[in-house]
Symmetry: C2
Subunit: 452 residues, 2 copies
């Protein structure tokens, strides 16, 4: 890994071909072989004798444990879950060159990615790095997310991850403005923020962590677009970026939204607690996987990674492999010329405060009664439709189909009790605070940002 | 309990004498005897054989369990804790009569109150009431906090309670506007909101739940007060109600504050989990109390209540009795003519997300290095100084000295790392969302509202 002075030149236009040529070079440099192995071939991981939990010998990283759900006092089942209590940093560096904002993207290979390399934030670091207790190479650029000088913090919030698969996991999402002339290393590249938004439409390219930070970025939104193709939709989208309440065209006040969400939380009887993995019922462990008898949710398996040229050239680890492709859909609707999306208050056993604001349809999670509309193939309604990957460091080939569907005028503006119509601005106001939007809802919010 | 039509008359001025005469009548009607009893005399409570937990036979209300704290992987001790997983509603009804806002206060006696009766919100109801699974008399006015019609919700958020004594307890704080002519029952009284604010300066009168809801109330603040006594202080207080960021005189932007708090959360290594009470070390149970050998924090004891004239005329229950009086102090300082208060990011084992924003000094909790200034007897600096009660349904004679101290100009405006200077408006913006301010910080915010 070397520094490439030319990569930082302030007069280089950050064009798409420029990005593509860097990306091809990174793909050539990244040779990556992933193969499934039996659990007993894991060298740093073991099944704890008492609990049956699958753990790393250091006690760090994550563990596969069990979770027990209850609905009020009724047993609502047990299953395996990933437990990682450390808070990590997911951070983009931002600079401005001649008025154009650029972010420093990282080409990062993860074993669970279906295609090896994806676009990641400048920094992905765990608290062990963060608190400097870890040995090993320093994380590049970490100092910009820790110090208090020479930087301006634009985004800084703790956000959740998959509530079906992780127990109360959260990461710190950050966007930090720096001076333009910092060093750029081989795996990094300055990319116009507008180009990055556009790349969200490419399958399995912009990774989950990058989408999460993008969703927290305080965009001012598109300018009104009358006269262009899709003009009416873009006008409604533009209006949605400024509609904070009824006086600017939103259906609801912020207080109404907070009250809707508070009521859902107060009414929810779901509680969840960790249990030893060997107390999980109806799941069995073979030589190569932990699976439930129905095989309809996910498996835990072990993989071996061979990555010549990387600092750590080979390792092995357990991963969670979902049984099928996920679905996350915002149904959207123009109301008073302002685009609104339909969200649900969704209870999931891995969410820290029991429930968060999720897309209209989120699977795994809940489809409610909108699955048919969400899967429409009517191209006049489809505004966004791309398969993107969930985090490849923990999940093996976890793909989700992200869609934004603009429903016909006939679609009812009245929302069922667990649902609410929000504007883009109202989603952005919520995501400033942690634990409001699920990671799937945040990904979709990032996708909305790609539509202009 | 009967309805008193005259109590609702819209032409009755809501004067202080009017309140006082109602209050005296309620005190006469409330005869209340509380005496300590041995645990074995509790008729509906028992020590669970396996866990040693002290529980109610119904499984409802609360339980005395144990909590185990760790700081990263290091053992940080065990102690008893109250566990109550049900979410309750704490709600005030609000009406406007000739432009004057009035809230419907309740005279409520609780066994732990040092003086029996205190001012409570219109409704205090648990989720059991809320979900209508409870038998017994209906909770008065509950329907206004549940329906969706004939009301306007002004406040609705989930807020924490004492992180030293409760494990992840939270209540729903609500303020709901209704039409002025609803029935008023004996234990209830319409009180000008301004009068209620003023009553915060009376010792042990406005209860903790009422203070909590008041702290969430979106006051517009005092008008600038040049020319009156304390004019400069009131001007700075008035400016503090509008200072949302540096452009209006605040030291910090909202983003800086959120980032400061996120960093504190991410850096905190404190975790806590429930354990069986019989696994708590260094605490012993006698016939009459559970206490630690040092006796410097609290005891668990049992009391018998005799309340002739109440629907339930006698019962007994366990309570938590603190060893000494608590202290909660905002150090305040004028910066650019705007009043700022110094808050700390405080980790406590009972807080749902590990830490919340607390007063400069909060005991039990943390005194940091500001205890001496916080306890100053220099009357030129003391803006508020009143002993108020914590919730009397769970805590026995739990008193806290609440103070607002305006520090001299020489006091450093630079805050230590765990601290930050916030304006009143910034506190009010945070408290719209749950789990930002400790209940002690919320009480003090309510006290700030009483200063004009």
């Amino acid at each position: 890994v070397t520094e490439n002075p030319a990569a930082n030149a302030l007069d280089v236009p950050r064009s798409l071909p420029d990005f593509e040529s860097w990306w091809s070079r990174r793909q050539e440099a990244c040779r990556f072989q992933v193969s499934q192995i039996p659990f007993r071939a894991l060298d740093q991981w073991y099944f704890d004798q008492d609990s049956g939990n699958l753990r790393h010998r250091s006690g760090r990283f994550f563990a596969v444990e069990g979770v027990w759900q209850r609905e009020d006092t009724a047993d609502a089942g047990t299953r395996p879950i990933l437990h990682q209590s450390e808070v990590g940093i997911l951070g983009f560096l931002l600079r401005e060159v001649r008025g154009v904002p650029q972010v420093l993207v990282q080409a990062k290979a993860e074993p669970g990615n279906i295609n090896g390399l994806q676009i990641s934030p400048t920094v992905q670091a765990t608290r062990s790095n963060y608190m400097r207790v870890h040995r090993g190479a320093d994380t590049r650029y970490l100092e910009y997310f820790q110090g208090r000088d020479n930087r301006r913090v634009l985004v800084d919030s703790l956000q959740s991850e998959q509530g079906e698969w992780f127990f109360r996991k959260r990461n710190r999402n950050m966007l930090v403005m720096v001076r333009p002339d910092i060093p750029v290393y081989d795996d990094f590249h300055w990319l116009d923020l507008g180009l990055l938004r556009g790349l969200l439409g490419v399958e399995n390219l912009v990774g989950m962590d990058a989408r999460s930070v993008l969703s927290c970025t305080p965009f001012s939104g598109p300018r009104a677009a009358a006269g262009r193709g899709q003009g009416e939709f873009l006008d409604a989208l533009a209006a949605s970026y400024t509609a904070a309440g009824p006086e600017t065209g939103a259906l609801h006040t912020e207080t109404e939204i907070l009250s809707w969400f508070t009521e859902a939380k107060a009414a929810s009887g779901l509680t969840a607690q960790l249990i030893p993995l060997n107390q999980v019922r109806d799941w069995t462990r073979s030589e190569t996987e932990i699976a439930d008898s129905a095989e309809d949710s996910f498996k835990i398996l072990a993989v071996d990674i061979d990555a010549p040229g990387r600092e750590v050239a080979s390792w092995n680890q357990p991963m969670l492999a979902p049984a099928g492709r996920g679905i996350a859909v915002f149904l959207a609707r123009r109301v008073n010329g302002v685009l609104h999306v339909l969200v649900q208050a969704l209870a999931q056993h891995g969410l820290r405060d029991g429930l968060e604001v999720a897309p209209t349809v989120q699977l795994p999670g809940a489809a409610g009664s909108f699955l048919e509309q969400a899967l429409t193939e009517d191209v006049t309604q489809v505004r966004f439709d791309t398969v993107l990957s969930e985090e490849g460091g923990r999940f093996y080939h976890a793909l989700t189909r992200y869609r934004v569907i603009e429903t016909a005028e006939a679609f009812p503006a009245e929302a069922p009790e667990a649902y609410c119509w929000l504007t883009v601005r109202q989603l952005m106001d919520l995501v400033r605070h942690g634990h409001y939007l699920t990671v799937e809802a945040r990904s979709l919010l990032a996708c909305l940002h790609s539509l202009w």
